[in-house]
Symmetry: C2
Subunit: 143 residues, 2 copies
């Protein structure tokens, strides 16, 4: 019998998803401005490798609402709307380079934060108005 | 002058956010069923530590749309709707324990996948109908 006295461990967040209006436009932004490498992509989904065991998924709005049956199993329907927030971790010494790079790319920094634990954050928008944060260590108990 | 010939590196995805209707209900699910530890929380936001430098944020619908000015800086407005998808990584040998634990908690498994690379996924819903996946290694190039 498996132990059901407590939840088994989670290793981490494997996939973080964004839903976008124009998949090629969003792919261009995350590859070109954020420097991410696409592992796979079609007209419904682009999957970027961010770090080991960390994947950013871009889904095209309207392409994921129905359950998909696959030879390997199934993927239930899902969908999302609105300008959501998420954050990337960056090294402390990468902050000035990110500021210069975003300026070079014509991406406006919409806000900054200097957190009590010592970390710094920058906020900007992707082409779908999702609120992207870049944060240096010193923000959370575990970062 | 900072180098602007290429994007600086990202270390990983630091924060993944969900938007929920009932924050105490969602907090209970992610703490009780998923076993996550809340680092902080109020009536607007709960922040869970998932792994080092990996945070799951639960935001209350309607509480985040306006820009917030802080002594430390500012956080621009953001919001999200719809039953979005995201995934947690689990160890291969944790899969049967997760199946038993979810059954014990009364959480129905909505689909499964056995991926070509050898990984296995389970899918279920949180109280806001977000599509949660638990995935063992052998799914992506980087996992």
């Amino acid at each position: 019998m498996a132990d059901v006295s407590t939840a088994p461990a989670l290793s981490g967040v494997l996939e973080t998803a964004l839903y976008v209006d124009d998949l090629p436009r969003a792919r261009e932004f995350y590859a070109g401005v954020l420097g991410l490498r696409a592992m796979s992509g079609d007209d419904r989904l682009v999957a970027f490798a961010v770090a080991p065991a960390q994947v950013l998924l871009l889904f095209r709005h309207g392409a994921t609402g129905k359950r998909v049956e696959l030879p390997s199993g199934a993927i239930p329907g899902h969908d999302g709307h609105g300008p959501v927030h998420f954050a990337f971790a960056i090294a402390a010494d990468a902050l000035p380079r990110w500021e210069a790079w975003l300026a070079h790319c014509g991406v406006a920094i919409e806000a900054r934060n200097a957190w009590p634990r010592g970390g710094h954050s920058l906020y900007f928008r992707d082409p779908d108005q999702h609120l992207v944060e870049l944060a240096t260590p010193g923000l959370w108990e575990n970062y």
